[in-house]
Symmetry: C4
Subunit: 248 residues, 4 copies
């Protein structure tokens, strides 16, 4: 049994409340159901992150948040069970110094894009971050026949490598991840990846083989700038909805 | 009039509450509407099962549960009307000693897979149990033109034979059944059969004739293992939602 | 100005409450939105029917119900405005002595079947009444370019003629009607016409040109029998949901 | 820094409440999510309009409404931030003296019609206003690669030119606008543009290449007349739902 790593220190209650609220937001927006998770890099330590113990996202409270190190070990002697797939988070934080928050989800509209060769495209400006491209991670390529889970550092590292410098990636026959340089940006991208997927299903059926005038990569770059303001407004709405239903 | 068979004895209140809650969960998840039912094998008797009287699943309370024997007769002198299709349950329990719970439903996204020759495939790890294959029961094959209902032991037995050792089966122009070795596993499979069906509709449209990188049977076997933990978390969420709305 | 016809006499409060509740049920089930209506033939007079004044179905109370005669005139001196399309109801009651209740709605999933040459088929036993065929009324055929509304006896009569002895009919670029020999049967058919339409959209896409093993007309006849019990259970659920939200 | 233009004077509280309620209605009907906006021309001044400060529509109260002039400048010294895209509104009001209210939204079902060459058609009488045609504004045509936003008078003017005398227009890879000669008409059109889009997706898939018997332009003209009554009834329902949840 490994010794628990030291904690990087306490985190402000409002930060913990926002992270717990983000779980509720993702559930309310249909991005996660009984499964899925979101994490936040520790505000004071590049090599620590916060994430709920293994539980349904819609039930998370600030007291359920656990600090992990980049090996996926719970810190400060915390003995609560983490998600099997916390290595998604630890390895993305390790590979991407700019990322402060990571979402993993299995939303039904997104999964199909990981199952066939139709790339996800940006259908509108709020999903501009999609225009840079959404890579697909197929666990079979490196690991053969598996239980599909990112349950250790090696698999997590391979996924992070596939993500590269992008902000969304698909996992074949599994789901997707979205990242951001703030908690709000990661939540916004997870939500609008799902919305964009729904629009693209309809758009491709409508076009029935013809071309789609999706955002070009250049339009995507320009349009993603004002999304920061949009994400702030969306957070304002979603956070207030959670506040109305919780006492933390 | 046949004499009512003896009861196999009382069942713990928390077991009855969980079974009643399972009806509410299936309704809340869109698996059943005003119709559909779930049963549990009697914890102390292999030849008895518990199931609500004929009523909408969203209204079931523990007091509505009736004990049946494997002929579909209510036990202990209970005179309340059972569902016409309780023989689905009795015959699956008879044929499958490993099954502790059976769900029958008509969820709209699932029915199409019983109407044409496109087999249901496992779109993601939470539906791994689908990867073993989902047989289709066509009542016409043995019984010709009928009212479509599994309303006696003979029809129930034929359905159980089609199910074989699988955990999900489709009924042509009718609906589906899902089974499990626990109440929680059956509920989980019923819910994720529906979710998987929705994903497959989108995925096949997206692929427009091209291949789908669905779970292979081998991946399905491996991925179904960790679903037990997932099912426990899902149950935790769904059960707590029912608890918040009921006083039992 | 025509003199208001005499009333056929008071109707039992519980019948009025059920009719008002039926409006709420159709709204809750997504069959009607801000538009659409349901009527009931007067229990004591073959030539009178009850229907709300022109208002959103989700707001109807028993006090909003008006008695009409078969010319669509409000009885007993009632001066409240009826729906422009009350002639759908009066003419179906005139043509069909067996019909006790009529629903008219514009549910989004149903409208497409009135816009192209793909006939609605019965996808499962709860929609067995569809297997007899669903005729399409195109107002252009007899009336040329119109405002699409069934706003007088002549147009209503033409629609009733198209309905014939069926229980559901489509109105091109408009919506549909469903009828029953009880209030509960009409509501059940309106709801399951909508559910069946959704299933058929998915099923046809899934079959992508191949055949659908829909209910045969013979299966439909047999399967519609037990739907009376199903409709009673559905009504029990839906009516109790309305009761929980109203004080009548 | 420009001087704030003078206000055209106070607006009746019930008008402000209706405008704030319209934001909530559009959110409740799924036309807007965390983004999108609705405005009303000032009842007493052709060259002023009212619109919320930049915030989620579901949170707007009458106190959040700001008066703008046709340059998009806040009047009466109001220093609150307006939406970047308020120029959609100012330029439509400038170009169209008959328009009293403008909605801008990104509803997922509508966006696809701006991404390919399938024109939106009127699927039923409540969407009769669509039968006149729905032009598509592609910002690339005049402005090349942009951030997609209508963030100044020049872009707003180009959009208003594309709208012409129609009541709905699409913005490529962005969303749509709907206008009306009353607040209620604009809301009604925004809602039924969304409903019509959903129906058309289903209808085109159902027809699979065959023709759709959509409303002809002539039918559309006739059918749009009674929609004023329909819009009044819809407003009655939607407004009462907002009233039940707010204290203004």
């Amino acid at each position: 049994m490994t010794k628990s790593p030291a904690s990087a220190g306490p985190v402000a209650p409002e930060v913990l409340a926002d992270l717990a609220a983000a779980s509720h937001i993702l559930a309310a927006q249909g991005v996660v159901d009984a499964m899925g998770h979101i994490s936040l890099r520790h505000p004071d330590a590049q090599d620590r992150f916060l994430m709920s113990r293994a539980m349904p996202p819609a039930l998370v409270t600030p007291a359920d948040l656990v600090e992990f190190d980049m090996n996926g070990d719970a810190c400060g002697g915390d003995t609560r069970s983490g998600f099997l797939e916390r290595f998604i988070h630890s390895e993305v934080y390790t590979a991407r110094a700019d990322v402060m928050s990571v979402v993993h989800s299995h939303s039904p509209s997104v999964i199909p894009f990981g199952l066939c060769d139709k790339p996800m495209q940006a259908m509108f400006h709020n999903a501009a971050f999609v225009a840079a491209g959404v890579p697909v991670f197929d666990i079979r390529t490196k690991f053969g026949t598996t239980d599909m889970l990112i349950c250790d550092c090696v698999r997590g590292g391979a996924l992070a490598e596939t993500l590269g410098d992008k902000n969304v990636a698909l996992l074949r026959a599994h789901g997707s991840i979205a990242v951001g340089d703030t908690l709000q940006a990661a939540v916004f991208r997870a939500v609008y990846t799902e919305v964009n997927a729904r629009i693209q299903h309809w758009a491709l059926a409508l076009a029935s083989g013809g071309p789609l005038a999706a955002l070009s990569p250049e339009e995507g770059l320009l349009a993603d700038e004002p999304n920061q303001g949009a994400a702030a407004r969306a957070w304002q709405l979603w956070r207030s909805n959670v506040r109305a239903k919780t006492n933390w």
